[in-house]
C-alpha cells in the first residue's frame, strides 16, 4: 500500500479562512487538541479578499439598530427560506464576535467619538458593517491568524483533504495529500469541522479563486451528510467586465454604500424603474432622498442601488439584454459623480475605497475618481451547503460539523452583504465549541481505517496511469465552468438545465480519462484532476435543486417560472446520496418560526 504520514487530533478543522480559524481558536480554548489543514498558505484563504465589511448591529452609527432589526433584515433578504433559529443566533451574537476581534488586535475604522464605524450595505436597514476601508477581510483573517498561531494549534498548510474516513456512521478522520510533494496523510480525529468555503469555481465568470472547488460540500455529501439550498448561488451584481482577463473580479458593494450609482448607456439610473414590493416602503423615492441616505440622514430611505444583490444583478442583466449596456456588456457604476455633492471628492473616494481605486487603475487603466466603471454580474457566493443543526453546527453525520460558506441555513435564498464575515465568526465559534465537546466525549482508540485509506490512495494515484488522449484536467474544468454559466447561471430554464445534466455526464467521463503528466510534486494538473470530482458532484446538486424549485425566489430565477410560488416558500430542497449511489432530491419543510420571531418580523414591517 502507498506510504503515508499519520496525524492525530481531537478536532480536525478543514479550512483556514475566517470560519476555520475561529473554530480552531474555540476548540483549542475548550481543551481539545486541534489541527488545521488548508489548501493554501495561512492567511491566503478567501476571507482575505472580503472588502466591504462585517455586519453586526452594534448601533454605533444609528442607535436604532439592534439584533431584532438585523434578524428581520436577514430573513427578508433570504426570502424566509432561512433557518430562523440560525438567523436569530447570528443577529444576537455578531456584535460580541466583532468586539472580540478588537480585543485581539483588529483596527476598524472609527466614528468621531472613537468607536467602531459602521457603513451602509444592501438590504441592511441601518449602517451596520464594521469595516476597514475596503479591506475588511484582510483585517479579519490577519487578526484571527495572528491570534491563532499562539494557541497551540497545529497548522498544516498546502494540505488538501480528498476523503473523510468513517466508522459506525460517524467520522473518524480524513485522508489527504501535501501539495508540495504529494505525500499522503491520514489525519485521525473524533470531530471534524468543515470550513472549506464555496463552489464559485464551477462558473466561468466568478470572483472566486482556484480553491473554490466545492470540496467541503462534496466531502460531506460523500460521507452521507445532507446538502441544502444548493439552487441558491449568488451572483454579485458588480464584477469587473473589462479587460477580459479581469472579468469577474469583485467591485465591492461599498462603492454603492458610499454613494455610487448605476446607469445604463442612456445615462439613466435604471434601478428606480423596478422596486420589489417587499422593499417598496424602505426605498428612496428619488435621487435626492437616496443621496441623503448615504450621507447619514436618518429620515431618508436607501437608494435602489442598495436593494438586495439578486435583484440588482437581474436588473443589470435586463439592461444589457435590452441593448442599454456599456460597450463591453455591463452597465456603468459611477462614484465620481459625488464631486457634485462634496468638496475633495477625489480624496474622499481614494480614502474610502483604496483598493478599488488601485484595482481599476492598475488592471483596467480606469481612474474611478473621474470616470465611471463598467460592471456586470459575477458568481460570488453559495447560500447552499451542508445542512447543520442551528445550535451546534453538526451535520446529519455524527462528529461532522460545518461552518461558514460551506454550511447552509443562515442566508436562505439570498445572502446580504456583510452577513458572511459575521457568519464565519458566530458559527465558526459555535462549531469549534461543539466539535470539541463531541470529540472530548469519545473514548477508546481510533478504529481501523486501512481499507478506506488504501482505496483513497489508489484513487489519488490513478490519474497518472491514464493514457494520453490530448485532453487535460484544466480543459475539462474550463468546459464545466462555461457549461454551468450558460445553462445553470443567473437566469434558468428547465430545458437548458436538463441539457446541463447530460453535459455533466459527459464531462464526468472526460474527467475520468483526462491524463495527468509529471510527478506528484506540486503538480496543479494532478490537483485539478482530483478537484474535478467535487466540482462535478456539486454542479449536479446545484442543477438538480434548480430543476426542482419551480419558481423564482432570491438568487434562483427561472425564466419558465418567473413568479414566486407561496407553496414553494414552505420547503427547502435537500440533496443526499441514496443507497444506490444516485443523488436524491428531497423537499423538507422550512424550520418553523416561533411566535416571537414572527412578532419581530411584523414589528419591523
Amino acid at each position: 500500500m502507498a506510504s503515508y504520514k499519520t496525524l492525530e487530533f481531537d478536532v480536525l478543522v478543514i479550512g483556514a479562512g475566517g470560519a476555520g480559524l475561529r473554530a480552531a481558536i474555540e476548540a483549542s480554548a475548550a481543551g481539545a487538541k486541534v489541527g488545521v489543514v488548508s489548501k493554501s498558505l495561512l492567511g491566503k484563504a478567501h476571507t482575505v479578499m472580503a472588502e466591504g465589511g462585517v455586519a453586526a448591529s452594534i448601533g454605533n452609527v444609528d442607535d436604532r439598530d439592534n439584533w431584532r432589526v438585523h434578524f428581520s433584515d436577514t430573513m427578508r433578504g433570504g426570502q424566509y427560506l432561512n433557518n430562523p433559529r440560525m438567523a436569530e443566533i447570528h443577529a444576537k451574537e455578531a456584535p460580541a464576535r466583532v468586539l472580540e476581534l478588537e480585543a485581539w488586535g483588529a483596527l476598524f475604522d472609527r466614528t468621531k467619538d472613537g468607536r467602531i464605524l459602521q457603513r451602509n450595505f444592501g438590504g441592511h436597514k441601518f449602517p451596520r458593517l464594521a469595516h476597514v476601508g475596503d479591506r475588511t477581510g484582510l483585517e479579519m483573517i490577519r487578526t484571527l491568524q495572528d491570534h491563532a498561531i499562539h494557541k497551540q494549534i497545529d497548522f498544516h498548510m498546502e494540505c488538501t483533504v480528498v476523503t473523510l474516513l468513517k466508522h459506525d456512521g460517524r467520522v473518524t478522520g480524513a485522508f489527504g495529500y501535501y501539495r508540495e510533494h504529494g505525500q499522503f496523510v491520514v489525519i485521525r480525529a473524533n470531530a471534524i469541522v468543515l470550513a472549506t468555503g464555496g463552489i464559485g469555481k464551477s462558473f466561468s465568470i466568478t470572483s472566486n479563486s482556484w480553491e473554490y472547488t466545492a470540496d467541503g460540500h462534496a466531502l460531506a455529501y460523500r460521507a452521507g451528510a445532507d446538502l441544502m439550498d444548493m439552487e441558491f448561488v449568488q451572483f454579485h451584481p458588480t464584477g469587473m467586465v473589462w479587460p477580459p482577463s479581469v472579468r469577474g473580479i469583485l467591485v465591492t458593494e461599498g462603492v454603492r454604500g458610499e454613494g455610487g450609482v448605476l446607469r445604463n448607456s442612456q445615462g439613466k439610473r435604471f434601478m428606480f424603474d423596478d422596486i420589489p414590493d417587499l422593499y417598496k416602503n424602505q426605498t428612496a423615492k428619488d435621487e435626492e432622498e437616496g443621496w441623503r441616505y448615504v450621507t447619514g440622514d436618518k429620515d431618508a430611505n436607501r437608494p435602489p442601488e442598495l436593494l438586495t444583490r439578486d435583484h440588482v444583478a437581474r436588473c443589470i442583466n435586463r439592461e444589457v439584454k435590452e441593448g442599454r449596456g456599456s460597450p463591453h456588456g455591463g452597465v456603468y457604476l459611477d462614484i465620481a459623480w459625488i464631486k457634485e455633492k462634496i468638496p475633495n471628492a477625489q480624496e474622499h473616494i481614494k480614502k474610502k475605497l483604496p483598493s478599488m481605486y488601485h484595482q481599476f487603475k492598475e488592471l483596467a487603466g480606469v481612474d474611478i475618481t473621474t470616470e465611471a466603471m463598467e460592471v456586470g454580474p459575477t458568481c460570488h457566493y453559495v447560500m447552499g451547503g451542508v445542512r447543520v443543526d442551528a445550535e451546534t453546527q453538526m451535520s446529519t453525520v455524527p462528529g461532522l460539523f460545518a461552518a461558514g460558506e460551506c454550511a447552509a441555513g443562515l442566508h436562505g435564498a439570498n445572502r446580504l452583504g456583510g452577513n458572511s464575515l459575521s457568519d464565519l465568526l458566530v458559527f465558526g465559534k459555535r462549531a469549534g465549541e461543539h466539535a470539541a465537546a463531541f470529540a472530548l466525549g469519545q473514548t477508546g482508540p481510533f478504529p481501523d481505517a486501512n481499507a478506506q485509506v488504501a482505496d483513497a490512495a489508489a484513487w489519488a494515484e490513478e490519474p497518472f496511469a491514464r493514457d494520453q488522449n490530448g485532453d487535460n484536467p484544466f480543459r475539462v474544468q474550463h468546459d464545466l465552468q462555461a457549461m454551468m454559466h450558460a445553462k445553470v447561471g443567473i437566469v434558468r430554464i428547465d430545458s437548458e438545465m436538463r441539457e446541463a445534466l447530460d453535459d455533466l455526464k459527459s464531462l464526468g467521463e472526460r474527467s475520468l480519462a483526462a491524463p495527468v503528466s509529471g510527478n506528484r510534486d506540486f503538480n496543479p494538473g494532478w490537483h485539478t484532476a482530483m478537484d474535478m470530482r467535487n466540482m462535478l458532484t456539486v454542479a449536479e446538486a446545484v442543477t438538480l435543486a434548480a430543476v426542482e424549485r419551480q419558481e423564482s425566489r432570491g438568487a434562483h430565477f427561472r425564466d419558465d417560472f418567473p413568479a414566486k410560488d407561496p407553496e414553494a416558500a414552505k420547503f427547502n430542497i435537500v440533496l443526499r446520496q441514496g443507497s444506490d449511489g444516485a443523488m436524491q432530491v428531497v423537499r423538507t419543510p422550512v424550520v418553523a418560526r416561533t411566535d416571537e420571531q414572527d412578532a419581530v418580523i411584523k414589528e419591523m414591517g
Binding site: S40, A103, L117, H150, H358
Partner: protein, 249 residues
Amino acid sequence: MAKVNFKIWRGEKGDGGYKEYTTEVTEGMVVLDAVHQIQAETAPDLAVRWNCKAGKCGSCSAEINGKPRLMCMTRCSDLPLHEGVTIEPMQAFPHLRDLVTDVSFNYRAKKQIKPFKPRKPDAPDGTWRMSQVDVEKAQEFRKCIECYLCQNVCHVLREHAKHDEFIGPRLFVYSAALEMHPLDTEDRLKDLKDRDGIGYCNITKCCTTVCPEHITITDNAIIPLKERVVDAFYDPLAKLFRGLGKKKS
C-alpha cells in the same frame, strides 16, 4: 494580440533552468494569466501559487524580467513584450518547484514575536475608544498582504542569508503594527535589538520600493522602531527609566 515568448524557470529544489513557451497575449492580460494559459495549453504540471488574482492575497510573488512583483498585478502591456518575458521564483527563499518557494521562514519568525496585549478596556461594556488618526498609523502596516517581496529584495536575507538573526522588513512592519497599535502594552524593543536584528538594516529602502501595498516600510516602520530601540537602550535617561519599570507611553 500577439504571440509572446515566455521564459519560465522550471525545476526542483534549485535544480533546473529556463523553459520557453509561446502563448497569445490579449488585451488587458496580466502575467499570471499568461502563466495559466501556458498551464492549460502545454504545461499542466507547471507549479505556481495564486489565489485572488487581484493583488489582495500576496500569493503570486515572482521575479518578472528580474523585478520582484505580483504576477497578478503586472500587466503584460507594461512589459517590452517583443523582448520576451522572463519569470523566475523568488530568490531569497529555498526553492521548491518551478515558481514556488518555501516561505515557511516568515511564519516561524512571526511566531516568535510577542503577540498583541491590549490595555484594559476604556468603557464598562468592554470596548475601547480610539480616534481615526491614531488607528491610521498602524492601519498602514496592517495593509500588508504577506507577499514577502520585501523579504525577497532585502540584501540581509537575499545576499547574506541572515535568516537566523534577522526577521526582515515584513516582520518589522508587523512589529511596528503592534508597537504602534493604540491599545498595545507589550514591549518588544529588546527582542527587536537582540533577536530580530533590526541593527542589520542599513536603510537602503529596497523593501519600500517593491511593496505592492505601498507601505513606507523604511521611513514609517523601521526607522521609528530603530529610534525607539536607541532611545530605550542607548539613551542613558531612558535606560534609567526602564530600570525603574517604566514602559513605553
